[in-house]
């Protein structure tokens, strides 16, 4: 077993385990933290696969995102600490069956598909960032700009939806 396979198993296993813990624990804060650890382990998998820039980006972005999520969960949940052990699940059997079908279906494709020859040489970290920069500001610029515009639109839309509507004063 190569070192890369070993670390992929370790970090991948951690990502999956913490992903499962998200839905096992009754505490919402623990759920958010488990998702944070899961996403961080995924970032570590990117680093193992030599995608350094994306790995660091994933860890930094998800650390921020999950911290915000934890605050929202504490705000919105009736029992954020999970002390009352409220049951917040429904259609358990159907969900479990759907999850298992999704897992085994994707696993079968991963194992039985013919992926062709595997690449051995990859650009180093600095070269990757340079090439990605050329890709983003060259051929894929329109897509990149569209993504930025989509985020801006989503921010405005989310704020518009969330802001409480003011009651208009009746005209005298």
């Amino acid at each position: 077993m190569s070192l890369q396979v070993f670390f992929l198993l370790v970090f991948g296993g951690a990502a999956v385990w913490f992903g499962i813990v998200v839905f096992l624990t009754h505490s919402m804060v623990r759920s958010a933290l488990a998702l944070l650890f899961s996403q961080t382990a995924i970032g570590a998998m990117f680093l193992v696969m030599q995608a350094e820039f994306l790995g660091v980006l994933q860890i930094m972005m998800m650390a921020t995102e999950m911290s915000i999520m934890a605050i929202f969960m504490v705000m919105f949940m009736m029992d954020p600490g999970g002390l009352g052990e409220m049951d917040m699940k429904h259609q358990r059997k159907t969900s479990l069956a759907a999850g298992l079908v999704a897992f085994f279906g994707a696993l079968a494709v991963a194992v039985f598909a013919d992926w062709g020859p595997v690449a051995t040489d990859i650009p180093d970290a600095g070269e990757q960032v340079r090439l990605l920069g050329f890709e983003l500001l060259g051929r894929s610029m329109l897509i990149f700009e569209s993504a930025g515009l989509t985020i801006l639109t989503a921010m405005i839309a989310a704020t518009a939806v969330a802001v409480q509507a003011r009651e208009r004063k009746p005209k005298p």
């Binding site: 994306l54 999520m69 999850g99 991963a110 990859i122």
Partner: protein, 103 residues
Amino acid sequence: MSMELIVALSMGAALFGTGVYGALSQTNLVMIMMGIELILAAALVNLVAFWRYLHPDAMEAQMFLLIVMTVMAVEMAVGFGVAIARFRSRGSVEMEEAQELKG
């Protein structure tokens, strides 16, 4: 066939299955969003694996990954916007209590 690729894709498959279970089984809007985040995270793992082991010279894969990350951020922003609006009007984000949204 590369063992590394299969391991990475298998982890992606496990994350996908976990996310599907979470998104379908939870009654709380924020928890459903967590399931969707896991599904998208599985897509990220697969994209990086395909880039690294099949086409390391094609930077479109990394660009596509940035787009998926954008989708994750947009999903969070809009989801929380809807959650705040729902919480203000009904005092809860439990989807069991949102029967009126049924078509």
